[in-house]
């Protein structure tokens, strides 16, 4: 009897502690707060964690140099659990309770589609997305109606990425018959639509349109169907785990069809899990961290390794988050911390030197909320554990190895010559 009363009391006490924690007043506003809500747990966690780390490094850099207008920056992070409703709630909380003046976008396109109208109509705080790529996130209702659009992006966007992938495969590599292999979850679905559209625009026949599911551990049936249909190139939209299954199934059935993937595979996690089965996979991305790099990037990488160890989970997002924080700092230094002013100023930045790209043009304009465009994207090739940028010359596509050797890519198998 005593035991159960005690336990009941304890359970209720724990609850009460949580209530008190929540009711505690928000900290006084002696810092400038930037918010980020995204998946920090669950299957998409590596994206959120990568963004968080990139932003943390940038915040500390800026604070070490005295902050913005004499105030320190502070990053407030929430775990959206890959759930749009949670993300929307957390955006409200970040803005209204924490008083953040700028935001980094989430990790899931659906989340950002859900929150975009709320940011535009109610919260009116700018957000810049480093990761989510559905085209409509930035080209939302407000954008279409010409109202103030608070949603920006500093990463891949669906239309651009698909155009880039298809152009590469069809125009630069010269494949005639394409096959799609996409993930049935959100990102894969939009990618599938965009890729189909671009193939149609280029009048390239789509001979197979296969999908895979989160629970598919063996993708050989799909690959066999593609092979039977005579696909010369496979275009993929998906994430690491499923793609390890894809390259493994390719190995299993001895399939050598060239494999082009969207930026879900632009992360070392792919090589760690897939090993050298990933050799030769081509990935579209905004940035590769391997191979010869400019000094600013190397500096950033060093800081990252010191702080978080050698594994970088989501390279493009981590770099982008770093740039976004600097972008905000630059803007706020100029116009202060009013979110509306920040938003307006973002559309009028003449130039910006980021790690991902050195912008010599306005980063955003009123009609263009995607900082990076098709021509800014790069193709990477997984080469012995490194994602090396693919360059082109008269002889064709090639990569430059660490020792400076130039190796050309065989278009039939994507092997190095």
């Amino acid at each position: 009897m005593g035991k159960s009363t005690w336990g009941k009391g304890m359970t209720l006490a724990i609850l009460a502690v949580f209530v008190l924690l929540a009711a505690g007043p928000a900290l006084a506003q002696d810092t400038i707060k930037i918010g980020f809500s995204g998946a920090l747990t669950g299957p998409a966690a590596s994206f959120g964690v990568g963004i968080r780390r990139g932003a943390e490094i940038a915040v500390d850099d800026i604070n070490a140099k005295g902050g913005v207008r004499g105030k320190k920056l502070q990053l407030i992070v929430r775990d959206s659990e890959h759930n749009p409703v949670k993300l929307v709630a957390q955006h409200r909380e970040l803005v209204e309770r924490e008083g953040v003046v700028a935001l980094l976008g989430g990790t899931n396109s659906a989340e950002m589609l859900a929150v975009a109208p709320i940011l535009n109509d109610q919260l009116k705080v700018p957000v810049i997305c480093p990761a989510t790529d559905a085209t409509k996130i930035t080209e939302n209702d407000a954008w279409q109606e010409g109202r103030d659009n608070y949603v920006f992006r500093y990463g891949m966007f669906g239309r651009g990425q698909s155009n880039f992938l298809v152009n590469m495969a069809v125009q630069r590599f010269g494949y005639k018959k394409a096959a799609l292999l996409t993930w049935t979850a959100g990102w894969g679905v939009t990618g599938r639509g965009e890729l189909t559209r671009r193939l149609r625009e280029l009048s390239t026949p789509l001979v197979a349109d296969e999908t895979y599911d989160t629970a598919d551990t063996d993708i050989s049936p799909q690959l066999l169907k593609i092979k039977q249909a005579g696909g010369e190139v496979i275009l993929n939209y998906g994430l690491v785990r499923e793609n390890v299954y894809v390259v493994r199934a390719k190995d299993k059935i001895g399939d050598k069809t060239p494999y082009f993937s969207a930026w879900g595979l632009a992360t070392p996690a792919f090589w760690r899990a897939g090993g050298n089965l990933g050799e030769g996979v081509l990935v579209s991305t905004t940035i590769t961290a391997d191979g010869p790099q400019p000094p600013e990037r190397l500096q950033f990488l060093k800081k990252y390794w010191q702080r978080y160890g050698p594994d970088m989970d989501f390279v493009p997002g981590t770099f982008a988050a770093h740039d976004i924080v600097h972008l905000y700092a630059q803007v706020m230094e100029k116009v202060g911390t009013d979110p509306k002013a920040i938003r307006a100023a973002l559309e009028n930045i003449p130039a910006f030197k980021g790690l991902v790209k050195d912008f010599k043009r306005p980063v955003f304009t009123k009609s263009r909320h995607d900082a990076l465009q098709e021509e800014d994207f790069v193709l990477g090739r997984w080469t012995n554990g490194k994602l090396l940028q693919v360059h082109f010359d008269q002889e064709g596509p090639h990569v430059i190895l660490d020792d400076g050797a130039k190796r050309y890519i065989d278009k039939k198998t994507l092997a190095l010559r």
């Binding site: 669950g42 966690a45 050989s220 390890v244 299993k252």
Partner: protein
């Protein structure tokens, strides 16, 4: 034809794992009318602990397997004692929630201990696929099927020919009468729970070289295995394993000939229909409230 053979072979490999995990459900249900609803997470934990022992510590795979099963068995005994027994004693069925809660703990613990990215465990036999007549299969997949069948046979031998196995079946038949025989039924219940955990972990480590090891790997696998255990009829071990194989092949055929997205829709609808026609599963028996 090549296509068909390929997907059937792949289906059998997947199905063997489903079957192995599903049998874990029946081990506890048959002895004490309890299901470990978080069993999928035990699969994951088996893969993770196996990764540490085999890859990180570089132990031989058999030793790693034994070590992992010792760890999971111990956890199983603890979990039974603290999260199942109190509720079973109280005669309530909230163990559905408590076993699920333990599963949640495992996911979180795994994320903290092993990170969130998929971990690769090298195949036990060799990583090059075997090719014949254009059909490919990994040695690991063959190993999975053979070992899963072997485990089923071993389990059968245990149940049929060992004294302890007979005591398990006796406890399943009637805890009360088994107690009258001097069988420590309390201990049997704990052992059954631990055995189920071991089986799940074993399946996890066995399958990890093919599926990768990561904190979420058990969620869907556990649910599907549960579905299979139900279709098979919770108490019929062999029936469940056969169901697992069939379900694996069915999945392969569905994604091969229709498309992947529709696989679970058809599979689970079929399961509802099976239960509609046979409320206690394909191989189960009826039970009624007595007047």
């Amino acid at each position: 034809m090549r296509f068909l053979v390929q997907i059937v072979l792949s289906g059998i490999a997947t199905g063997a794992i489903y079957g192995l995990v599903a049998v874990g459900y029946s081990v506890t249900y048959a002895t004490m009318r309890v299901l470990n609803f978080g069993l999928g997470m035990w699969v994951m934990l088996g893969a993770m602990v196996g990764y540490t022992l085999h890859v990180t510590f570089g132990l031989n795979v058999l030793i790693a397997m034994l070590g992992m099963m010792t760890v999971l068995g111990g956890l199983g005994l603890l979990a039974e004692r603290f999260t199942v027994l109190p509720f079973v004693r109280a005669g309530s069925d909230v163990w559905i929630m408590s076993t699920l809660a333990v599963g949640l703990l495992f996911i979180n613990a795994a994320e903290l201990l092993w990170g969130r990215n998929p971990l690769a465990i090298p195949p036990f036999l060799g990583k090059d696929p075997i090719n014949f007549a254009g059909i490919g299969i990994y040695p690991q997949e063959i190993l999975i099927v053979i070992v899963a069948c072997a485990v089923m046979v071993a389990l059968d031998v245990f149940y049929q020919y060992t004294l302890l196995g007979k005591a398990f079946r006796a406890t399943a038949s009637s805890t009360e009468v088994a107690g009258l025989m001097g069988i420590n039924t309390r201990r049997i219940a704990s052992l059954a729970y631990a055995l189920a955990g071991c089986l799940a972990g074993f399946a996890g480590l066995l399958v990890a070289p093919v599926t990768l090891a990561e904190p979420q790997m058990g969620t869907i696998l556990g649910l599907k295995a549960f579905a299979i255990a139900i279709i098979g009829g919770l108490e019929a071990g062999r029936g469940i394993f056969v169901c697992g194989l069939l379900y694996g092949v069915l999945e392969g055929l569905l994604s091969g000939y229709l498309y992947t997205g529709i696989r679970d829709i058809i599979g689970f609808t079929l399961m509802i229909l099976v239960l509609f026609v046979r409320p206690n599963g394909l191989f189960g028996r009826r039970a009624e409230e007595r007047a």
